[in-house]
Subunit: 147 residues, 4 copies
């Protein structure tokens, strides 16, 4: 987004480049159309546009995709703080409201980094008619898999 | 209960027909290729074949799809015990091992039905080379949305 | 804390009085020495002093008491927004660090109130030598039991 | 394996002795009156008698104590499979019914052992008038802390 040389090589810019590469390497993320829009130390924002194949039986965003966005954002938030491999060991999702919108934005952050595990949390908003609504929250516990 | 015709209209057979109709009405379930293979009172088995678009960055089944299978199976297990609408309020997933296989089978059951909410649990196995491996467990709390 | 008449009859002051009455009616809360120190609309702070009987095998605050503080604070946060009965249906706790301190402070807030259920979240800090450390986070889903 | 003396030193008997020692070293477990009644490879049963100080505001067993029993049983189940230190990283509890009884029995088992973490699950029953009722289920993810 920036033509500034220094900015293109800032830590956050490097993080974005790296996360976008990881994101592009995940087939399901590509199918979802997930994009990484922000990355800082321990903090990430991703988004996904609505698509008709993403609906559950009532036409809301499927709970599996709510979980996928939360899991992905949490994993990326942890990845900003380590170069090691990471695997989700546990994730939990609270579905506050039906998830309806043109796009969905997940903002995740690291609650507690560690040598062996990362605790992360995430808020998922549905954007509808230009306005966000918080539709789900979640937490993910990631295990560091290699060193 | 034992003739062909009566058996085809047994309670479990009716449950299968109804769940398959619900399953077919969910666009994301169709994309996943989810099929309902068993249904009894408070108990359901579904399965999904592997597809390349379902992978995370290392090529395992994406945690979002692990959650989708668990959430779907749990919702169907609850649906065998009520004609009311159901929405997942909370779900949690333990990812025990990398989910790798040709197909994935989720077996869910109702732990506690209720007038206002259903507690359900699920085991997800990956079938690889004709053998199942337990790869994830999960629990879902569903709210009854209409009466 | 205040001698001002108006302040004693403010909504938050009324909330405090009511929550302290509920707190005093719970035998385990009395044993723990839990006190309600702040209450606002959808938000509560409680605290508990360390006592020797509260330790697990390594002398840290027992995970059960971490859960008790989170569950209690979340329930009280929901109670500030409804006069109905409430029961915890699900609660989850992330234990970030060993909980060691002279006292423990749990700050809970309502993420989403509802007619049938409340989603709440909580942060638990251990105060040691005058300084707080975040030791656990948690989330509780409460069901409204009467109307 | 069949004489009196050898049997008293069987693996399960050794496990019981070791867990009872750990249990006795935890001050809160002593206050609760928790006893370890069974231990096998990856499986444990503990119980706690009702006491008046254990109640929440309606007189049911406090959710914190429900969590304490589940967390303790899960930790002991993992401890049957490792000599290393263990800490609960995450635990989740589903409160199915009000927990009312003369005593409470928690049966936990290891779902997946590991070098770095253990996934465990637990069922908590309330015994009332000689009959058990399943009142809560839970899952705990434990981290191995030393080697």
């Amino acid at each position: 987004m920036s033509t500034d040389v220094v900015d293109r090589r800032s830590p956050d810019s490097d993080r974005l480049v790296r996360l976008r590469r990881i994101n592009a390497s995940a087939a399901f993320n590509r199918w979802c159309g997930i994009e990484v829009t922000e990355a800082a130390d321990g903090r990430v924002v991703i988004e996904m546009p609505w698509r008709d194949e993403a609906g559950q039986y009532a036409g809301f965003l499927h709970a599996g995709l709510i979980g996928a966005l939360i899991d992905t954002a949490c994993g990326f938030a942890a990845a900003t703080m380590t170069g090691d491999g990471l695997l989700a060991a546990h994730f939990a999702v609270d579905c506050l409201r039906p998830a309806v919108g043109e796009r969905f934005v997940a903002a995740a952050s690291v609650v507690k980094p560690g040598r062996m595990q990362f605790f992360t949390t995430c808020e998922l908003s549905a954007w509808h008619g230009g306005k966000p609504t918080l539709v789900a929250t979640g937490a993910t516990l990631l295990t560091v898999t290699s060193r």
